[in-house]
């Protein structure tokens, strides 16, 4: 009992230090970097890797990354996007179209995709916010804009229609396997690359959260009218949130297109992609830094393992996603990362009651 309290007090003292976020970040990303080694450890004669392969880890970190990007807009400013597949798909398609059709380096293609997605986000945002779309109506508008792209791309022969793109070999664009080519001959470098992506978007999120921009975002989320009454230009800041979020989501799409062999409208622009991109953040805790990462480590492995284990049951992963979504929205809208503080509050209440009754 007192030992627990000592640990808690020590942690609070640590938490007040200026270097605390740095230490936590290093610990978190150190753990992520060590995961490929950890899953190979034998536990009672069974490797963890049998259950949690490197491929699943990569997928998990991809969705942690995209959820972190989604969070900047929807978690921070509260403008719930149900259409982030639009930005994801733009990133994937811009990269592949430039790499395959014009032999441009994928890194450049990725940045072009990011800028295009940011621009598309600005159009969606400007139209929706000008006409004062909020809540469900805004979410539906974003979904419509994502579906619109899926139809358009499916019917564009210039982008190979429904067939999509098959990834080019590095030599086709004058590079060799490695970081410059954005292609590797095994999965491990891919894993470290996406962890690097996650590090960047998490750093950007941290900087936003700790600046006036983040405070304005949160004020808009809590009460737009109250925020405006003390000088917050909500229209402009909502657009900033959308553009930054769309940009980083597109980079995720670009990575996706360089990791998997093919992209098609019904994969990167898929209706269900919208759910996959937002669910980790919602489950883990929207508006938090840790939520999207924790959420993805809960949601993605479970659905992937279920999908591969019960491969004859079609769509089981989607059922699991749905179950997660319903459960978390009903029982814990602040997400998994809020559980410790809620438990603490409960503990306090229980103990408080005892003291009163004594």
């Amino acid at each position: 009992m007192s030992a627990i309290e000592t640990v808690r007090d020590r942690y609070r003292t640590f938490d007040d230090q200026r270097y605390a976020p740095l230490v936590k970040g290093v610990a978190l990303f150190g753990l992520l970097a060590a995961l490929p080694t950890i899953i190979e450890i034998d536990v009672a004669g069974m490797e963890l890797a049998a259950l949690l392969s490197l491929k699943v880890l990569i997928l998990t970190v991809i969705y942690a990354y995209t959820a972190q990007a989604w969070n900047i807009m929807s978690g921070y400013t509260g403008q719930f996007s149900f259409g982030h597949a639009a930005f994801f798909g733009i990133g994937a398609y811009a990269t592949q179209a430039l790499v395959v059709d014009a032999a441009v380096n994928p890194w450049i293609g990725m940045l072009v995709g990011g800028v295009l997605a940011g621009g598309y986000g600005l159009i969606i945002g400007a139209l929706s916010f000008r006409f004062k779309l909020q809540g469900h109506y805004f979410a539906l508008a974003t979904l419509a804009f994502a579906e619109l792209l899926r139809f358009v791309v499916t019917n564009m022969s210039e982008l190979n229609g429904a067939n999509g793109y098959f990834k080019a070999f590095p030599r086709d664009y004058g590079a060799e396997y490695g970081l410059v080519a954005f292609q590797f001959q095994n999965d491990l470098p891919y894993y470290y690359l996406i962890v690097g992506f996650l590090l960047v978007v998490t750093l950007v999120s941290w900087v936003i959260k700790n600046s006036w921009v983040g405070l304005y975002f949160f004020a808009i989320r809590e009460d737009e009218r109250a925020a405006a009454s003390v000088g917050v230009p909500s229209f402009r800041y909502k657009l900033i949130g959308v553009a930054v979020s769309a940009f980083f989501t597109a980079l995720g799409g670009a990575y996706w297109s360089m990791y998997f062999n093919t992209i098609r409208p019904d994969t990167v622009f898929a209706l269900f992609k919208n759910v996959e991109l937002l669910l980790p953040a919602v489950v883990g805790g929207p508006g938090t830094l840790l939520g999207p990462i924790v959420g993805s480590f809960i949601v993605t492995p479970v659905s992937e393992i279920a999908r591969t284990t019960f491969s004859d049951i079609n769509g089981l992963d989607r059922i699991i996603y749905g179950a997660f979504l319903v459960a978390i929205v009903i029982y814990s809208p602040r997400g998994v990362v809020s559980w410790p503080s809620q438990a603490r509050a409960l503990w306090k209440r229980v103990r408080g009651d005892e003291e009163v009754s004594e």
Partner: protein, 258 residues
């Protein structure tokens, strides 16, 4: 003094100080309902003006027109001589006019100090400076000890003070306070009146909607009376409450001249 004369604010009353806020012929129409009709009034630097009137007189509508929640359908509002009517709310706030809401609107999941910091960021983008300004205003309204609590957890009295702190953090030239004393205990009301006086001493002008007539008479330099969207009286508090048209508006339609 006849009723018609009291409706012309500057005609016979000699007021000190430069003009901060000027409302000129402001009207607001909501599809068929004329909520405000040709309202004139002014607020000078360092004045406390009470805005009173029966329910539905248009007091909050006037606040909304002035603060940019929506634009007036006719007339103009000037702050420091510049036209602000038609500007969005955030620009009016940046021009030096802050307001509170009748139903408090705390940014619930933010802490108390963060609520005040949102207002303080008008003056600086640096987080530490905004925090300093915010802490000062929290000290001022007496919420400094609750700085790290979540705003949604506050009691009604504390939420009212937070509402004031958030607006004061913008360091406004003029503050519009919409029934900020409603729901307060007598001692909390007394503290609030004290805060009003201190704000005035700092040079902030106040325009106050309040139902507590005693408090209004006690604190206001002048009182403006609205009834059915029209300004019906303006003057010193003691004079206005004895005005026939004001009594009629409050008590009802019997013939006072009979």
């Amino acid at each position: 003094m006849s009723a018609d004369e009291t409706n012309a604010p500057d005609a016979d009353i000699d007021r000190d100080g430069e003009q901060i806020l000027s409302v000129e012929g402001v009207g607001k129409r909501f599809s068929g309902l004329q909520a405000l009709d040709d309202v004139d009034m002014t607020v000078n630097r360092g004045e406390i003006i009470g805005l009173i009137g029966p329910n539905g007189a248009g007091k909050t509508t006037l606040f909304n027109c002035i603060s940019g929640a929506f634009p007036p359908t006719s007339g103009t509002v000037k702050l420091d001589g510049d036209v602000i009517s038609g500007l969005p709310a955030h620009k009016i706030a940046r021009a030096g006019l802050a307001r509170t809401f009748q139903i408090t609107r705390p940014l619930e999941e933010l802490t108390v100090v963060e609520n005040a910091m949102v207002g303080a960021h008008i003056h600086t983008r640096r987080r530490s400076e905004a925090r300093e300004i915010a802490m000062e205003t929290l000290e001022f309204v007496g919420l400094a000890d609750k700085a790290e609590e979540e705003a949604g957890e506050l009691t009604v009295g504390a939420q009212k003070r937070l509402e004031l702190a958030r607006a004061v953090s913008t360091r406004p030239e003029i503050l519009l306070l919409d029934e900020i004393m409603a729901g307060l205990t007598p001692s909390e009301s007394k503290q609030m009146l004290d805060l009003f006086r201190q704000l005035r001493e700092r040079g902030t002008s106040l325009l106050i909607i309040e139902h507590d007539m005693k408090a209004i008479i006690n604190i206001s330099d002048y009182v403006k009376v609205l009834d059915q969207g029209k300004g019906i009286a303006f003057g010193a508090p003691e004079t206005v409450v004895e005005d026939d048209r004001v009594i009629e508006a409050y008590i009802g339609g019997f013939d006072v001249d009979a």
